[in-house]
Symmetry: C2
Subunit: 438 residues, 2 copies
């Protein structure tokens, strides 16, 4: 982990661990103390295994010489990602006690690289729209966003330096924005989905929450790349960490307001304009016309059909214990024709071509990550719309904690790249974090 | 083209062209004479442009120094693959006179590499099951197979050394088997589909017909690799030509009879057993159990849904001019639910994992390419079943002209590899052609 340069603090426990100035056990105890202090109010974890984490850290210390690139790193894993040694319950009552037989590919790669899974992070129910108990560590009256609620909150609360999450529509970008952390969803296929609850194979993306771009990058370097069991998985394009640490000229930046601009609140739109104007390099405006509004309905068709297939049979067995909103998604999926699903797929491919053509001239195109700061918890997990198009087309997207609302709450800036151009996006976002943190 | 080593003949016109012993114009005239002599009975072409081909050859000769790896190579292109300078009519009356605005990606790459498109090869109507006029050059009473009928026949008749075709179910492997040529469908995504009539994005594969493995390889090296407009396209894994020409130990071979063995005729099953027993290395039996029979219905659902979406609207406008069998496929697709389509996709992914696990220990697994030699033309284009599983899972597959029926007609041996392992398959098939041609 030579990832802390942006964050600065040489006393950062992860940086000290990397330098061998501290042990995996000491590091783990540091984070467990933080969890102990605030977990009762944040409620980031669906399952927590402190003793096992300490035992794993002891083992890591004993085998330090053979430690991988993530040696001793404490990680939280969203509860829709399978772990063989912990329950994986999808945030849903009907899966209470579910114990996968094996780790998801990204979890087994995490462990092979030396990381230690501290616990399972709360997800919205079935990674859909009904929130779990997690609150936003920046303001406990507010939602952390969803569906990767616990993953974002755990990093924001300093419970773990890194957490795995997933995004089908807006489940990484939005919580990262609300919680004031980096949230990175690489290009479709870079992180394999084997052992992750399926919504819709064309749009399911694992991703990483971290405090810095480099921390996210080093984790993806360790867990990304092809997996024979995920037909849409792809090889890594090179070292994302090297891209994060690269020196060089400023990136070529664009910015886009897009067809959903009206769904961002006025103060956030004003803050975004100030942010763009204040950049040390000029960002060119990218005109994302009204035709891209089709992304929303297209995403909905793909998700509803996928969820109906993936979760439908289990939900049928226990309808009375499943929230109405989830039942409605399954019912909608079941009402769709194959023709309509094929049309959604074709429209998705066309939007991918058109959007890629517009953003490809830039290393990163900046846009809204959320409609504003975190809403109060009673309003739900917030609007995923600003992530929708980029999830739909499989583009790499990252939320960077670079804006702040009048009430002091964080608001993310979303940086997106052309599909497959993750290295350029990482280079650009690491640069943005450096200049944004001045 | 240093591709002729297997075929031997140093007087081979393509080999002479490559060595600079002859010009592109002389080469083109050689092939055009062959076309002139037999096209009236073979009917491989839906459109033929001899004058334009000669003009392109003259231009190639004038610019020889800058000629690409396919300098002057005459190629036939299946009539569902767009060409900006020739009609592309999908073998269907309702598309008569259709003129694409631009070349398909694989056609523009062909031309950039120096190849010359001689004409458009006949396809079954809409690349489905209703045959066009093409006959099998090995026996004019018989079908060349379909849907890439003209492409296979053109290479078999010596009209062109190479032709582009496509396979969604069995449209390359079967005609290659019937016509006694090499037919190669690389892994899904290696050849992009931009500008190719869409059936179903998960299973549409372009491919190449040639006389040798190396000829097919050099063409794929030139036209393969990622395309921003095809979301499922992938980079080439390396040089397929180098793999075809590689020396080295014999490949690790398996053979599989599979759940559809009964649909191969007894003589072909006997010939296949003799072929396997006669190999200079032992091929191990791979048990493809009855569960793989699900491939057929799964492929049908994916194809019907895709065709309904892709061709449905055009077909609706001219129902009276569309064959009943095509209307039925569209109607079946429209009757499917999104749920059923998602289930087909999930089953496809599971079959891919299971089949890959079985074949991954081998460089190539040998199996039937067709149920026998080409049927008489009145029986249709033959049974695609032996290609179905490998198309469904996106595995590389090649038909090699290594068997012969009692009546002297060719029968292919199909060699398949694990998805993405095209280099191993090419190395193995080039070796098989060398030992099979002893």
């Amino acid at each position: 982990m030579n990832a802390m340069s942006e964050g600065g603090a040489a006393r950062d426990p992860v940086e000290r661990l990397r330098r061998g100035e501290t042990s995996a056990v000491e590091t783990m105890r540091f984070y467990l103390r933080r969890i102990e202090a605030r977990e009762n109010e944040v409620r980031a974890f669906a399952y927590l295994a402190p003793e096992a984490a300490i035992a794993a850290a002891e083992k890591a210390d004993a085998a330090q010489a053979s430690g991988g690139p993530l040696h001793g790193l404490p990680v939280a894993v969203k509860d829709i990602i399978d772990t063989a040694d912990m329950p994986t319950e999808f945030g849903g009552e009907i899966f209470a006690g579910r114990r996968p037989r094996r780790d998801a590919t990204i979890v087994s790669r995490l462990r092979s690289a030396g990381a230690i899974v501290v616990g399972k992070a709360v997800t919205s129910q079935y990674a859909l729209f009904v929130p779990g108990p997690t609150r936003n560590p920046r303001d406990l009256a507010r939602t952390p966003g969803g569906s990767s609620s616990g993953s974002a909150a755990a990093v924001a609360a300093g419970f773990v330096p890194v957490a795995l999450g997933t995004q089908t529509n807006g489940s990484i970008i939005r919580p990262a924005s609300y919680c004031g952390v980096v949230g990175f969803k690489p290009s479709l296929g870079l992180l394999p989905r084997t052992g992750v609850l399926r919504h819709a194979p064309l749009v399911d993306h694992p991703g990483v929450f971290a405090r810095t771009v480099a921390d996210a990058a080093i984790v993806i370097d360790a867990i990304g790349g092809e997996d024979a069991e995920d037909a849409l998985s792809r090889p890594l394009p090179g070292s994302l960490l090297a891209a994060a640490n690269a020196e060089g000229p400023p990136p070529k930046l664009g910015f886009a307001l897009g067809p959903f601009e009206d769904r961002a609140d006025p103060a956030t739109r004003a803050a975004f304009a100030v942010f763009i104007a204040g950049l040390p390099v000029k960002a060119e405006e990218v005109a994302l016309g009204p035709e891209f509004a089709k992304a929303e309905g297209t995403m909905s068709d793909l998700m509803c059909a996928g969820v109906a297939e993936s979760l439908g049979p289990d939900i049928d067995r226990a309808k009375d214990r499943v929230p109405e909103r989830v039942l409605r998604i399954v019912a909608e999926g079941r009402a769709l024709s194959a023709l309509r699903l094929m049309q959604a797929w074709t429209r998705r491919d066309a939007l991918r071509v058109d959007a890629t053509r517009l953003i490809a001239p830039y290393d990163a195109v900046l846009t809204f990550a959320s409609s504003g700061p975190a809403p109060v918890a009673s309003e739900g997990t917030g609007d995923p719309i600003f992530a929708t198009l980029w999830s739909l087309i499989g583009a790499p997207a990252m939320s960077l904690p670079l804006m702040r609302a009048a009430n002091g709450l964080p608001i993310g800036v979303q940086a997106v790249g052309a599909p497959g151009r993750d290295l350029d996006l990482v280079r650009a976002t690491a640069w943005l974090m450096r200049v944004g943190a001045r």
